[in-house]
Symmetry: C2
Subunit: 237 residues, 2 copies
DNA sequence: TGCACAAAAATCGTATGCAATCTTTTTTGC
DNA sequence: GCAAAAAAGATTGCATACGATTTTTGTGCA
């Protein structure tokens, strides 16, 4: 980490809420699957873990519940979300609606510096795919999500960017839950194709490629209900 | 208020958070323009007003800040959002992306009972347009937003529905801020047309009508910066 | 009068305490 | 031995308290 990063994160944690930094760390843990769906996140535990009071921990959990990554039940507490197949479909239906439009917008605003950033992102994805093991696989899911977030930031609409942050985070959960392990690496070449479309400012192509890409991600999921869904829910599993 | 309503709201306030009901009331007040943009919402004041502690008031304000209706500054407090013209454009760009898709989805799921609800909604809109005065105008903006929320609920995607709730609320703020008063009533006939397209399950028509409708709403805004924008921001006005 | 500076008031950020609710364990009756 | 009831323990919901920060007020000096 260089000096600039140190200053930035120092200023960050000092200026903005501690709750927000806790939220970010918890979100990373959920998206990385270090916290399994259904895991209880008690206020006290989170508080002692991050060395803050329950008040702050509670605020962080409230934020995550707004994002749909955590489900809170009154008088019972907060749990890592366990999206149902139906929820998973809604997540991808939302992405199909939003992301092709984001790709078009990004085509109209992308700069040379952005392209450089995209290429760096693609390189990082490639590294994680080359590696093996569960840690690399988690990093791969994360990096794949970051690609979509980078695109959203280039599109220049702060509102859509926030929606995408939520959708990508929830997608990561869904992929971790329902993903068929073998087929995950195929997204990389599609990302490369989208960057190519961006580079040539071909918004129609970028939009089409993005739509296909989302379809492929969803097709790689196994959204059939495994056991009886009522039972699964009853067991909170 | 009839018995059913009493029971409903009693169960509501008992079952779910008090913070949530405070948020809803504040949101209504903001959307109705009873709380002007820039108004300070101090935790203590909100708390005493609703007869709860600062803890609960703070949670409600945090929710509103997630929705973009309230802007919070550390150690300074919460203020009713004052969206810039650029933010206003982003709100409508987002709606252009999402709502035509919602209209298509709604076409595929709309029931006879939904159509009845839409007709009732249109009637209510018509009543408020016929009335005059500032109160009727506020109700008219609210009712117009409710039409879009009804459509989102028919579309059957909970995630998109929540996005739309946020977008409609922010739109109401934007319209209140930048709307040209004379031209607001024109949306009603377009709503009627959209319901007609729904009734005949013509998803292409519904989608096109929706897109035009959003364009018309945005065209009725005056998004030119009035004074120097830096000055306006500096004055927090 | 205008400005700089200090004291006071208001407000926020956070920790902590207590009552209410839920969960688990123990006890009791059959 | 097992089911139901009761008690103990844990956890949340909420109010309140206190230090930190910001805003306002008041005062002296040019």
């Amino acid at each position: 980490m260089n000096i600039a990063d140190q200053v930035y994160s120092a200023a960050d944690s000092a200026t903005q809420d501690r709750a927000q930094t806790i939220r970010d760390q918890l979100r990373d843990a959920i998206v990385d699957r270090r916290l399994a769906p259904g895991t209880k996140l008690s206020e006290g535990e989170v508080g002692t873990l991050f060395d803050v009071s329950r008040t702050v921990a509670r605020a962080a959990l409230q934020m995550l519940s707004f994002e749909g990554l955590v489900r809170t039940e009154r008088n019972r507490g907060a749990f890592v979300a366990n999206p149902s197949p139906e929820e998973a479909r809604q997540v991808f239906a939302s992405r199909r609606l939003i992301e092709p439009g984001i790709a078009i917008a990004a085509c109209g605003r992308v700069t040379a510096a952005d392209i450089v950033a995209f290429k760096a992102q693609l390189d990082e994805e490639g590294r994680f795919i080359a590696e093996r093991g569960p840690h690399a696989r988690r990093s791969e899911i994360k990096a794949s999500g970051d690609f979509h977030l980078l695109l959203a930031s280039v599109a220049g609409n702060a509102i859509l960017q926030r929606f995408m942050e939520e959708l990508v985070a929830r997608s990561s959960l869904v992929i971790a839950l329902y993903g068929r392990s073998g087929a995950s690496a195929c997204g990389h070449s599609e990302h490369t194709g989208i960057v190519g479309a961006l580079e040539s400012r071909d918004s129609g192509l970028a939009s089409r490629l993005m739509l296909h890409h989302i379809d492929h991600i969803e097709a790689d999921l196994d959204l059939r209900v495994r056991a009886g869904p009522a039972l699964r829910e009853a067991l909170n599993f």
